[in-house]
Amino acid sequence: MENVYMDHAAATPVNREVVDAMLPYFDREFANPSTVYEMGSRVRQVVEEQRAKVASLIGASPEGIIFTSSGAEANNLAIKGVAFAKQKKGNHIIVSAIEHHSVLNSARFLERMGFEASFLPVDEYGLVSPGRLMEAIRPETVLVSIMHANNEIGTIEPIYELSLVCREKGVMFHTDAVATVGNIPVKVDDLGVDLLSLSGVSMGAPKGIGALYFRERTRLMPLIHGGIQESGRRAGTENVPAIVGLGKASVLAAERLGSSEDSLRIQEMRNALVSGVQEHIEHSKYTGHPEKRLPGHASFCFEAIEGESLIFMLSQGGIYANTGSACASKALKTSPVLVAIGIPTAMAQGSIVFTMNNTNRSEEVEYVLEKLRQAVGKLRSFSPIWKEKQAA
């Protein structure tokens, strides 16, 4: 079998139609959209059309979309932008303990700037409790940020219920929807959010493009100062080809999400992988919520092995997955998400995340299961922890 790519949370291939839509904006239509002559205003018009397409995908108004360089920048702008804009009202923000680093580190940065941050604990599935959020909100709280779905364990948070708590308390609510926009239907009014981050990389658009949605009358302190781009909220000449890519990917995602067939097929592949692992690989744990989770997301921890070794071994057989955590993969530290959901350190080291989309096929799942069983068995045969366990 050729390569099997099951790391769509890290990056998705850019669709051919998306590439074709982008190409004219590298050479033929290269003008700066801020210029006043016709060549530039033509490009400005195209940028505004893409804004409308992205807005339409999430049921927002185009005026509420700011293009950014990534989901991480969108998260930074939401958190720091609101905190600094509301500084006179209060200096407290709340995020969950399992947020992406762009949220966690923005909160930690604000702590250095004199703000206070609360990191809300989650349950064993990674769910944030609306009751706990209610208790954590103080009179000086200005922002709550809870991710829509966790990229490492796939759990989808009860965003609407959490938004109701924030509305009742008069606190702004942001969600990092990088893992969900383009993968499941996402509408800002259904979620009840004031701000929402999305990224091109997880929805078939190129890397280097993201967007922040903000509800009307939201004040945001810009992070990048300069010109008039993005209505003065984010300076810097627009990355027009990438913006066109995001616009086209948004249209394609809306079409794809309109058909339930794809979603069902992805869920079936995910379920097959999960039951295969549960049946054939002992001492494994399926992490995240069993039902409230992303359709193509399957995450496991295998006892007595290291996730990075497993990823490496699978990649030698042409299978690409992820440990799910930059901490685990690059910094040799236990994933904060797995710690937060109570996975013991020894188990958390053996983390692996498979993220499938509509480009995957069911034969690939069979192949992955076979190779995964072999790799786990082989790694355990070298593992002193495993040997101790067997002896005991």
């Binding site: 932008g81 804009a85 006179k88 009358r217 004040r219 100062h225 008039i228």
Partner: protein
């Protein structure tokens, strides 16, 4: 500097946190949506706007009504004349 108190307005443009030259770009667009005689309220925390907006009104033939200081921003009022 001309000050007003409790000035009523027909539309509000919130430019708090946004910087130069947005305070000179957005009022024109917003005024286009108003009828002659209607009043636009501009909220800004940019000091430069206090001089720039009255000057801009003169150049564009709009009537600058005055400024009111609020807790966290300035409120500037323009009556649409053309």
């Amino acid at each position: 500097m001309k000050f007003v108190k409790n000035q009523e307005s027909d539309e509000t443009l919130d430019l708090v946190c946004r910087m130069c030259p947005m305070h000179l770009m957005e009022p024109g667009e917003k005024l286009r949506c108003l009828k002659k005689g209607q009043v636009l309220e501009i909220l800004t925390d940019y000091d430069g706007a206090l001089e720039d907006i009255p000057e801009w009104c003169k150049k564009c033939g709009q009537e600058f009504l005055g400024i009111e200081e609020d807790e966290d921003c300035y409120k500037l009022y323009i009556r649409k004349r053309k």
